[in-house]
Symmetry: C2
Subunit: 309 residues, 2 copies
């Protein structure tokens, strides 16, 4: 067991249109966003699959950040996973225009030698059966985090429930938690998810922030307010990357560090959405992270209740 | 100038359907919700209009809470304002099924003698020209808060802008702020509203909490998590009532008290949505308020950033 962060997830070429611009075949994918984010604070081991169209400069960028790419399979004469989406004026949820799985359709995550000992594991949104396959390969990690999506809740529920029974932190957005539990009340829905096995439920609420529901209670944060949100793509994965990267840096995952990790995740996501692709994450420094963290801390601080108890 | 809270707003009979039940002709209206909320912490002077169908027990309840009803005009042989709405499964926004203005159509807020000196003023969502008429009648209050809605943004923009130029706190939900400013980014939209005159913008986000944007920065809170939300009607007005009631109780409205008032508003709104009509607010005690306030404080607390600055 070491302090490395194992990240398993998609590596994609994204075509994204927002009211503020458009990028074509820009580097993206949950694995890439999370790895870029986590690598600011901890060494990262990335498992994914790409075609020969994936830009080598993007791979160089990741390696320069300390991301070990030994686990990335590059398939010759094949295309990378492609996603195309569009955001409306309110920048809420993306409308997916097109998805081409390409090499991702046959993704089979195999950990290189030694990676079984990564202490921190983020299973980004992939088929739950593949998440299970990764869990089968790792040795007693400090902390495991999984993400998922509506498609797997509908089409691979049993495997997803097995994943949830085996991870420490189940990350989902509010709609997914409601869909999984068929419970509209979010507080109750999160309790139901806790009953499925994970120690924590990390609820992602997009522009409305995030919450961590634990047996000791709930921790909530608003999103970091920004004068301009350029592209929300990757925000959730950047949050998860910052969250787990911080815990790996810290070496502890008690309540105190989990709360801090939520703040780090919030700030990391804010850097992500300030630009297209991973540009904003690449510009984020530890100093920026520190400053926004402390600003966020001030934003939610209030003194004790002066009313009589 | 005294420590009384002047509240001007609707007094209604609501018919509300939620997934958890239904009430018919239940006591409601922004003025009633806000007055019930504020009166837990400060003396309240309520200005409104009702027909002879408004239940006398509801008036008694208000008076027992210290709400002075001298400013409530009761019109004989006429019906009170009636609103009928329905909430879906997710308890987000109400679908209005019917609105009968009745006596409210001719509402003309006139302050009884002595009420001009109320130190705290909440102008609930009514026609901006009537809000202005109230502002014309009061003497140098400590703090004024206004609410509004999409209808006035569309149909009485000039008067609304005049209101905003004359109040201290402009309360609006996120959609209304975006509509008023035609700016999708909430942080920028709030800055634009500040430019219209108010010292603070109180952004209501429903289940996602609330934010106070000031020249000194932004303060944000999630909503108080509840195992059961029964009826969201009146949550925003209860928030405003708790907010201004606390400031009146405190006698100060500096940054420290404004942050505390946001937490009091959050907790007050949580009590409101736990039951139909004003039942939840009526059960709220200062002790409950204190306990939930401290729980909320724990929910958003995190320690300083351990990363190097």
């Amino acid at each position: 067991m070491n302090n490395k962060v194992l990240i398993v997830g998609s590596m994609a070429l994204d075509t994204v249109q927002t009211p503020f611009g458009r990028v074509e075949d820009a580097v993206g994918g949950a694995g890439v966003y999370a790895a870029t984010a986590a690598s600011l604070l901890a060494p990262v081991c990335l498992v994914g699959v790409i075609g020969d169209d994936f830009p080598s400069e993007a791979l160089d960028d990741l390696q320069e950040r300390g991301v070990d790419l030994t686990g990335v399979q590059q398939v010759a004469e094949a295309q990378s996973f492609q996603w195309s989406g569009q955001y409306e004026y309110d920048m809420g949820e993306a409308d997916t225009l097109d998805t081409q799985l390409n090499v991702f359709a046959d993704f089979d995550p195999v950990l290189p030698a030694g990676w079984q000992d990564c202490g921190y594991v983020f299973l980004a949104n992939i088929q739950p059966s593949l998440q299970l396959k990764v869990l089968d390969q790792i040795n007693s990690p400090m902390l495991t985090v999984s993400d998922t999506m509506n498609f797997w809740i509908e089409n691979a529920r049993d495997e997803l429930l097995e994943v949830l029974s085996r991870v420490d932190v189940a990350a989902m957005n509010d709609a997914e938690i409601r869909q999984l539990t068929e419970e509209p009340n979010l507080a109750q829905a999160a309790q139901q998810v806790l009953g499925m096995g994970p120690k924590y439920v990390l609820i992602k609420k997009g522009e409305y922030g995030a919450a961590l529901v634990a047996r000791w209670g709930q921790f909530c944060l608003p999103s970091y307010p920004l004068p301009a949100v350029i592209d929300p793509t990757g925000a959730g994965d950047s949050f998860a990357g910052g969250f787990i990267g911080f815990l790996a840096w810290s070496g502890q995952a008690e309540e105190e560090q989990l709360r801090q990790a939520m703040a780090i995740g919030t700030v990391t996501a804010s850097a992500c959405v300030e630009d297209f692709s991973v540009e904003g994450l690449q510009r984020l420094t530890v100093t920026h992270l520190y400053r926004r963290y402390e600003t966020l801390r001030g934003m939610v601080h209030f003194d004790e209740c002066p009313l009589p108890a």
